[in-house]
Symmetry: C2
Subunit: 298 residues, 2 copies
Amino acid sequence: MKLEKLGEFGLIERFKKFIPLDSSVIKGTGDDCAVLEYSKDKYQLFTCDMIVEGVDFLPKEDPYLIGRKAVAISVSDIAACAGIPRHCVVSLGMPRNKTVEFVDKLLKGMLSIAREFKINLVGGDLSCSQRLVIDVSILGLVQKSKLVLRSTAKVGDKIFVTGNLGGSIHSKHLKFTPRVKESQYLARNFKVNSMIDISDGFIQDLRHILYQSKAGAVIYEKMIPQSPKAKNLNDALYSGEDFELIFTLSAGEAKKLILSGNKTFKMVGEVCSEKCGLVLVDKTGKKNKLADKGFKHF
Amino acid sequence: MKLEKLGEFGLIERFKKFIPLDSSVIKGTGDDCAVLEYSKDKYQLFTCDMIVEGVDFLPKEDPYLIGRKAVAISVSDIAACAGIPRHCVVSLGMPRNKTVEFVDKLLKGMLSIAREFKINLVGGDLSCSQRLVIDVSILGLVQKSKLVLRSTAKVGDKIFVTGNLGGSIHSKHLKFTPRVKESQYLARNFKVNSMIDISDGFIQDLRHILYQSKAGAVIYEKMIPQSPKAKNLNDALYSGEDFELIFTLSAGEAKKLILSGNKTFKMVGEVCSEKCGLVLVDKTGKKNKLADKGFKHF
């Protein structure tokens, strides 16, 4: 059987069932981060992200922005669990013909994110590779009471996003700011029921929340904050690498957020029972079941 | 300037000086693992290792052994700091044409090491890549009083290895057992002054200890435990990926180890002052300064 037949998520499911975990693991694969016992009041978050030339960035792109992206996508995963990023290590697979100047720019890009979010870059590995490949593993911390997972959305929750959707294909994917500040604001002031970052596309990532929470959702087209750079609604719904956060709040908490006057967060729909599936209400009020598409690696 | 001119270690030195670290980092880049504050009596160890098809393994090799190696080399780094491996995440860059059966074997190899060393495989990332690339990041724990670094060898220390050298090119590099048990035995029973695992070759890795400890060394050819699979002395001295440990003990501790009758550990030489350099005494008693060679990525 070829990998593309099984698909990325089929493969991950296949992985999961073989893996024995001890009691130090609060949450293994299947969320934005692994969650590990750490101290009396904190969990440690641990995750990795690999980016590959020709898939996640083009060879012609600015190495500063490539380095920046490599670290930023891992930071985004920490934000999605309401954590603070702390330490990272970087593995670089470098083509032999790259110049030292190229690596310097790559590193400057990485350090720009590390400095912005006070992350310690504590180690790395350097290999020779035909195409540039960068893997960043990151550790973060989260107050136990503030941890947010994908699997805990509740029927009746309101669904929010942290910003405009659909701008990523126009270079936002190289320049986005991981939503650590927003996620910390939410964790401090609200009971967040579930959260994920948008890497594969709004709809596909919302599906991860719904699948893991055994729930459905209704999304309202008129409420989707479409990026001025998105060509159309489909861009906003399906294009990958927006790196905004999707999160859900109970109706009461949602009301509190809306009344706070904070315009950063946009409500886009609500969680319903599993059997209602994933429905988009268009501008005329018509309900449409949404197809399962979005970025797939395989 | 091309990367090969600067070399891997030049590049790492170049990286280091740009990187700001806070007080939670006991040791950043430059050792087998980063060392982080963790609890009252323990440090956390954190490291990553990337292996690439065509460099670290051949496409024809058994995927079970490739998966096994990917995890084992990270475990070896934890052992080199006298730590216990605890949690790991795996990033896979997979060519599109690989079969599910291939991935299953890869995973089984990874899990064989995870089970053997009671490591929790807690997460991963799956990307599409032209050639197979695997990056494993691992967390470990070490008692603060037992941590061993590269930089703390002392003049007068005796130098030991945990096993035969020079067998790696004959498939040992795919089948080696990381020396966690040996390292734990040493940490429990002796004051180990410095330690490193052999990834680039005995001499080159010994040089890391010497360089960081500002010391020199004398090695005795007749004491080198040459693998029956090594063609000659050069194999034992320079071939990479033996994954034995090199460690140093004070003369007193060395005597204790030798008198213990434990035959696992072989003394091969002693640490001397920096100005004596790195010297090999051959079987006739002649002293030879050793050239700086061994596996280089660039």
